[in-house]
């Protein structure tokens, strides 16, 4: 097992200044010339432990590999970035799936309007047999980490 190397990430800590609207020479209202926010250097966040098992698990779920340490670092940074969400108070707020949640989704009648396009659909597949898509044998789980072609095995 290994722990992530600590990485400091610069995060804008939003601190409020008073809101001032300066009147320009022409008497027009200008946008406040001073930013509302200050960029503060954040203390390093507590190290997130991303275990080898988790990385292996993710590779299996996604069926996509990390390729190298850069890939793992990318994930670490993504998680640390996302952790900022926890500062927001969402007490009593419902999650929002869609901006159109107050409308009914359109459902069309269950009538056949198109089809019979087997040839077109099969054209794009690289391996077909008669009217089937050909696939290698299924129900075989991805090989264990030691046997897979994954850079993670080097870190074991």
């Amino acid at each position: 097992m290994w722990a992530l190397r600590g990485c400091r990430c610069l995060r804008a800590a939003w601190s409020w200044g008073g809101s001032r609207l300066a009147r320009g020479a022409t008497g027009g209202r200008q946008i406040d010339q001073n930013p509302e926010w200050q960029l503060e250097e954040q203390k390093p966040l507590p190290q997130k432990k991303v275990t080898m098992e988790l990385l292996d698990h993710l590779e299996r779920l996604a069926l996509v590999d990390f390729r190298n340490w850069e890939g793992v670092e990318r994930l670490e940074k993504a998680i640390q970035f996302a952790d900022q969400l926890h500062e927001v108070n969402t007490e009593g707020i419902e999650p929002m799936d869609s901006v159109l949640e107050n409308r009914c989704l359109y459902l069309r009648g269950d009538n056949i309007t198109e089809g019979n396009c087997t040839k077109e659909l099969l054209q794009n597949a690289s391996q077909t047999a008669e009217e089937y898509f050909e696939a290698p044998p299924g129900n075989i789980p991805l090989p264990k980490l030691e046997e897979r072609e994954s850079f993670l095995q080097d870190s074991n």
Binding site: A12, I31, L39, V64, V99, L100, G138, I140
Partner: protein
């Protein structure tokens, strides 16, 4: 002629001053002359000429289909087009030829538009620079403009300047470059976090993101289903309204399009902004905003006020969380949407055949680039059972807070919001690539992204040139489904701003010279 607005060209076509075939030929030669911009992945020369001929026949019979008949348009390469390769700038879909047209593409073709080519983008529309596709980055036409070169004191030896060219912004950079360099009159982009408005601002063109649910997404290879919208890029606001008129409306093939009837509109020519209330969100003034953009933004606010509009400061308190929220929701939806690429039915397939799982894994390893893989893996992390509530659901709750911010502002009497589109003008490619894709997206999407969260319509309008002679755009955000009001305000502003035309003559002359050189060398 190539610089004219859609309406003017349409009139010229009707009156026979120019023929659709001539127009098409001119655009095709210009594409060849501006090849170094790398705006196009596929140039559909034969199809375009054929469509132009059909259009010519219709004009001769006096039966033109409308304002778009015979007009060359370009389409971003993540829209499906029958018989034309659609790659999303990815190895995964290289060689993929869709058997159907995206609804928006079909609507354009039904109106007689001439599809001139598929434009370059970031791989699967993930990125804010149009630099991460397999066909290479797109160059901003303004890199070669007289305006930029004069300001930067560069001589006209274009070969020496090869390393200082600028990015277009992204991810619809190819479409923006195509419209900006006059090779087409309108282009389709997609907008998930600002992908149409960002390159529009950097390339000095109009970029419109319609309300979510107004334009069909059928055939648009999806990135984030709850935020994607097809975007429209044109050289003036009137043109954007014309194209929107063709594309908007309910589509039975996309159940997320609203069923409200849509009436295409023509923008008024005399506009009075006196009764309007313009909101300036104070949270959009962030430390990274360039002083030039800030100046341009302030001047625009003054412009409205001097014309009699009420310009007030408003607050969107959750703005600072929109990027984080987008980061989580985007990764989660991407993880789900990219699961369809397994090599079986279409796209790249690996030679590995020990088992379906290992074939899928190998195919996806070979097909996706780092950016896509990174988002898929982060998305899967956020969707793990132990993280679902903490990250995904949490982000959805924050999304509601962000959307409510807008609802509150608009219900307090504000008609349109005025904000910058980008932090600064376009940067050179060599500078842009110093940071990774995610950092760049987090920086560049900051102003545009909240409109996608809330589904509201937004448009970036080219406003002024920076000190370097590069475009700066400002963004207008309107109420849901109020594109008429949004574009009317935008049109008024466009008239006041009088943004200069891109002067590309030097580049075209140079391209001519190069081709003559080649001819004389070979003879």
């Amino acid at each position: 002629m190539l610089r004219a607005a859609l309406r003017e060209v349409s009139t010229a076509l009707k009156e026979g001053q120019v023929s659709p075939t001539e127009l098409c030929q001119r655009c095709l030669s210009l594409i060849k002359a501006t090849k170094c911009l790398n705006a196009y992945i596929t140039v559909t020369e034969d199809t375009a000429l054929r469509q132009a001929e059909e259009s010519e026949k219709r004009y001769r019979r006096g039966q033109s289909l409308g304002d778009l008949d015979g007009i060359p348009v370009a389409v971003k390469d993540n829209f499906s087009t029958t018989g034309i390769e659609t790659t999303c700038a990815s190895n995964m879909l290289k060689g993929y030829i869709p058997p159907y047209n995206a609804t928006v593409v079909q609507k354009l073709l039904d109106q007689g538009a001439v599809l001139i080519g598929k434009t370059n983008l970031d791989e699967f529309a993930m990125g804010s620079g149009s630099t991460d596709g397999i066909f290479g980055p797109v160059r901003n036409p303004w890199s070669y403009s007289k305006q930029y070169r004069e300001k930067c004191g560069q001589n006209s030896h274009l070969e020496n300047e090869d390393s200082s060219w600028l990015i277009t912004g992204g991810s619809s950079g190819g479409s923006a470059a195509a419209v900006s360099s006059f090779t087409c009159f309108a282009a389709l982009g997609s907008d998930t976090g600002g992908s149409t408005r960002n390159p529009a601002a950097h390339c000095g063109v109009v970029g419109l993101k319609p309300t979510y649910g107004l334009v069909s997404r059928h055939g648009l290879i999806p990135l984030v289903n709850s935020m994607d919208v097809p975007g429209i890029l044109t050289r003036c606001v009137d043109d954007a309204a014309t194209v929107l008129g063709v594309l908007a409306g309910h589509d039975p093939k996309d159940s997320t399009t609203v069923q409200d009837p849509f009436n295409p509109f023509k923008l008024p020519s005399v506009i009075d902004v006196g009764k309007l209330c313009i909101g300036i969100p104070k949270e959009y003034h962030i430390p990274g905003l360039s002083s030039e953009t800030l100046k341009v933004w302030s001047k625009a606010a003054d412009l409205f006020e001097n014309a009699g509009a009420r310009v007030i400061e408003v607050s969107l308190p959750h703005t600072c969380y929109s990027i984080v929220c987008y980061h989580v929701l985007c990764a989660a939806e991407v993880a789900s949407n990219m699961a369809r690429f397994d090599g079986l039915e279409y796209g790249h397939r690996s030679n590995m055949d020990k088992s379906t799982e290992s074939m899928y894994a190998a195919t996806r390893r070979e097909g996706f680039n780092d950016v896509v893989r990174g988002r898929i893996l982060s998305g899967n992390y956020f969707l793990l059972k132990q993280n679902y509530e903490k990250y995904f659901i949490k982000a959805q709750k924050v999304r509601r807070l962000i959307a409510n911010d807008f609802v509150n502002v608009f219900s307090s009497g504000v008609d349109v919001l005025l904000t910058p589109t980008t932090l600064r003008d376009a940067v050179p490619y060599v500078e842009f690539i110093k940071e990774d894709n995610r950092t760049r997206s987090a920086q560049d999407d900051i102003f545009t992204q909240a409109a996608n969260m809330s589904g509201l319509p937004a448009a970036s309008i080219p406003t002024a040139l920076s000190e370097k002679g590069l475009p700066i755009g400002l963004q207008f955000v309107g109420r849901a489904f109020q594109e008429l009001q949004l574009l009317t305000v935008a049109k008024w502003f466009e008239k006041q701003a009088k943004f200069p035309i891109l002067q590309l003559q030097e580049m075209l002359d140079h391209a001519d010279a190069l081709s003559h050189q080649k001819i004389s060398l070979s003879s």
